[in-house]
């Protein structure tokens, strides 16, 4: 009885928390998305106008496609960087493994704005990279100044620590003796990695991918400070609706679309993965 009560409290509190701080705001956003704004006033007449605008106004579709491509590239690059880093920490980190992983989290001790502005200073016209190049008499690298490449660098910088940590945690629970077994049976190191290490840690990789992909989709600061005139992404355009232009209802509809796209991406990833093959036990035993 006491166990059931403790369970109810332990699960009930976060459930209430989620309902109050996530479900309710999301529902209010859904409602708002079916209203409209006129001269900064919310008009409560139910209509699909905002969704029609988002579907037919090419600009918003462009922002979404730009964001999807950006999120895909940034997540893929982050995974490509994070895997060897995490693997190296596991293999060679010894008793300092945790220390190495925590070192990646150091940037999180500062605010996101500060990190992005620091990066702007690094990549900008008077930044470290271009400053050194110009001091050496070379031309500055224009492709890292206020471009989508600069945005991508910023986003990788922002979200790489999360991906490294998740893949590291996944590898931490991995039994390396399985690789030895594969090698004993004649597998090369590459084949052992492709057939044993990679699939058995795929779930961690996918979580890392999702934890990078989803925030990239709604990224605001990096494109705003690093992206330049062609760098407007979906999150930045959405933030504009709630800030300067005061077109809240359209912004709410953009938020709903973003949520749906995010869920769809997660579902799409999930349906193509055999979770049990990856060693994931969160679905219970059959």
């Amino acid at each position: 009885m006491r166990g059931r009560l403790a369970g109810s409290i332990l699960l009930g509190v976060p459930a209430l928390f989620l309902a109050a701080l996530f479900v309710l705001p999301l529902l209010s956003m859904v409602v708002l998305s079916f209203w409209r704004t006129e001269n900064y006033h919310i008009i409560q007449d139910w209509n699909l106008g905002n969704y029609w605008t988002l579907a037919t106004g090419g600009a918003y579709v462009t922002f979404l496609i730009r964001s999807l491509v950006m999120a895909l590239i940034v997540s893929a690059v982050s995974i490509l960087i994070a895997w060897p880093v995490s693997y190296a920490i596991i293999l060679y980190g010894g008793r300092y493994r945790l220390l190495f992983t925590l070192a990646f989290a150091v940037p999180f001790l500062t605010g996101e704005v500060l990190r992005v502005i620091a990066l702007q200073g690094l990549l900008g016209p008077l930044g470290l990279i271009n400053g050194v190049l110009m001091a050496m008499g070379a031309a500055p690298l224009r492709f890292i100044m206020y471009t989508n490449v600069a945005s991508a660098i910023g986003l990788v910088y922002l979200y790489l620590p999360i991906v490294v940590t998740v893949i590291y945690l996944s590898l931490l629970n991995f039994d390396p003796r399985l690789i030895d077994a594969a090698k004993i049976f004649g597998a090369s190191p590459l084949r052992a990695f492709i057939e044993v290490t990679w699939p058995l840690n795929l779930f961690g990789t996918l979580i890392g991918f999702a934890l990078c992909f989803i925030p990239c989709l709604s990224a605001t600061l990096a494109p705003r400070f690093l992206g330049g005139p062609n760098g407007t992404l979906y999150g930045m355009a959405m933030a504009q609706q709630f800030g300067e232009s005061g077109t809240w209802a359209l912004g709410a509809a953009m938020g709903v679309v973003l949520f749906i796209v995010s869920v769809a991406v997660i579902v799409a990833i999930g349906t193509r993965i055999d979770l049990r093959r990856t060693g994931f036990t969160g679905l219970g035993r059959s």
């Binding site: 090419g58 900008g124 100044m145 206020y146 400070f225 005139p229 355009a237 300067e244 232009s245 005061g246």
Partner: protein, 393 residues
């Protein structure tokens, strides 16, 4: 307790009542600091304002003198502040800042209240052009009551590198759309001013700027026709290829100009003044100049102090007006000009050197009447579409 209700105290305290009492007590404890009786002097003075106008030493002295805490909340643009006020913000803020036509909108919508110039002696030092009888944007046409005090003013002029751009070119808005400076131009990220400035150029080219307007009033770049807006969109899309970036803050713009990465950008003249100071100290060698009003017409703004509609008559209003009086005193205004780099509505010539008088345009306040004041876009929805299409193009 009404006569027909049961006397619960006679039955003792049941569990439900106990829970209700605890809940009510907790709510009251949490809400207490935010609830103030109308007649009591405030313990906190809450302001919705631009960050650049915070002067820590002046505010600390005001806090000490009035035994209260000054709690500012910052915003970046009028529409953001307007939205914050409309969502119940008149209860959350005592003092508000806005510019151009926005205060009159606030007053019409009962977001701000009237003020008494008699309680703010510093207003006697306003330049003539900003006295209520001349500057009409803070006076209700029907009743003649005043609802704000002008504070700082400026334009959205063009700061340019004189070594790279000839002054005759920089005298026109066209310089910001000139392919000869491709990749070496920048504008701010403010969508309203970008559209309005382009609107002046488009209306000039279309010849509609001096023709009768659909609303019967004179030309206002914040009230563009659909044809003019279409022209603006086309122009801004063409301009996008020429821009290095849209700067988010003055520090970035200063870097871009100082490094020679860009040669011109519209701004509020703060960066221009910073650069001129650097030049005077020998820290930079580049010559910069600022076009206050381009030949086609320019945008201007007057920042104002307003009092929220939630402020009742009595001690709170007195404190609000005392604060405005402090902020508009000549000594404070001199500090504000130096710290934020803006021109003041208060005559501080007696406290300024001849160089400062030139730099802060103290003898050019009359030019304000030739500028188009910052205003609310006639249709934020249409303007938002124009801006989004341009960004996506």
């Amino acid at each position: 307790m009404k006569p027909h209700e049961p006397n619960r105290s006679a039955r003792g305290l049941d569990r439900r009542q106990l829970l209700k009492t605890i809940a009510a007590g907790t709510t009251a404890a949490i809400a207490a600091p935010y609830i103030r009786p109308a007649s009591a002097a405030p313990t906190t003075l809450r302001a919705l304002m631009w960050e650049g106008y915070v002067l820590p030493d002046v505010i600390a002295a005001f806090e000490e003198k009035n035994k209260l805490k000054f709690a500012p909340t910052f915003f970046d643009g009028n529409s953001e502040a307007y939205n914050k006020l409309r969502v119940g913000g008149t209860k959350d803020f005592d003092l508000v800042q806005a510019d151009g036509f926005w205060p009159s909108l606030y007053f019409r919508e009962k977001l701000i209240r009237t003020v008494d110039y008699g309680k703010m002696p510093s207003t006697k030092n306003l330049f003539p052009v900003f006295q209520p009888e001349k500057y009409k944007l803070l006076t209700d046409e029907k009743t003649g009551v005043h609802f704000g005090v002008p504070f700082c003013w400026g334009s959205y002029g063009i700061t340019y590198n004189k070594n790279e751009m000839p002054p005759e070119k920089a005298a026109s808005i066209e310089c910001m759309f000139d392919p000869a400076f491709s990749g070496r131009l920048s504008t701010s990220a403010r969508f309203e001013e970008n559209i309005a400035l382009a609107g002046i150029l488009v209306a000039t080219k279309m010849g509609t700027i001096n023709k009768p307007r659909p609303d019967g009033k004179s030309f206002n770049p914040y009230h563009l026709t659909d044809e003019e807006l279409a022209g603006v969109e086309k122009l801004l899309i063409e301009q996008k290829k020429l821009l290095l970036t849209r700067y988010q803050d003055n520090a970035t713009l200063a870097q871009l100009l100082e490094s020679g990465t860009i040669v011109a950008a519209p701004e509020f003249a703060q960066v221009y003044r910073q650069l001129l100071n650097k030049k005077a100290k020998g820290e930079i060698t580049t010559d910069f100049a600022h076009t206050l009003i381009p030949k086609e017409g320019g945008l201007g703004w007057v920042d104002t102090w307003l009092v929220s509609y939630g402020v009742p008559d009595g001690p709170t209003l007195d404190v609000c007006q005392a604060f405005i009086d402090t902020m508009t005193s000549q000594e404070t205004m001199k500090k504000i000009a130096m710290a934020s780099g803006c021109s003041t509505t208060i005559d501080i010539r007696s406290l300024s050197t001849p160089e400062e008088q030139t730099l802060y345009l103290m003898d050019r306040t009359n030019e304000l009447s030739d500028m188009y004041m910052f205003d609310q876009p006639s249709s934020p929805e249409k303007w938002e579409r124009v801006w989004s299409r341009m960004q996506a193009a």
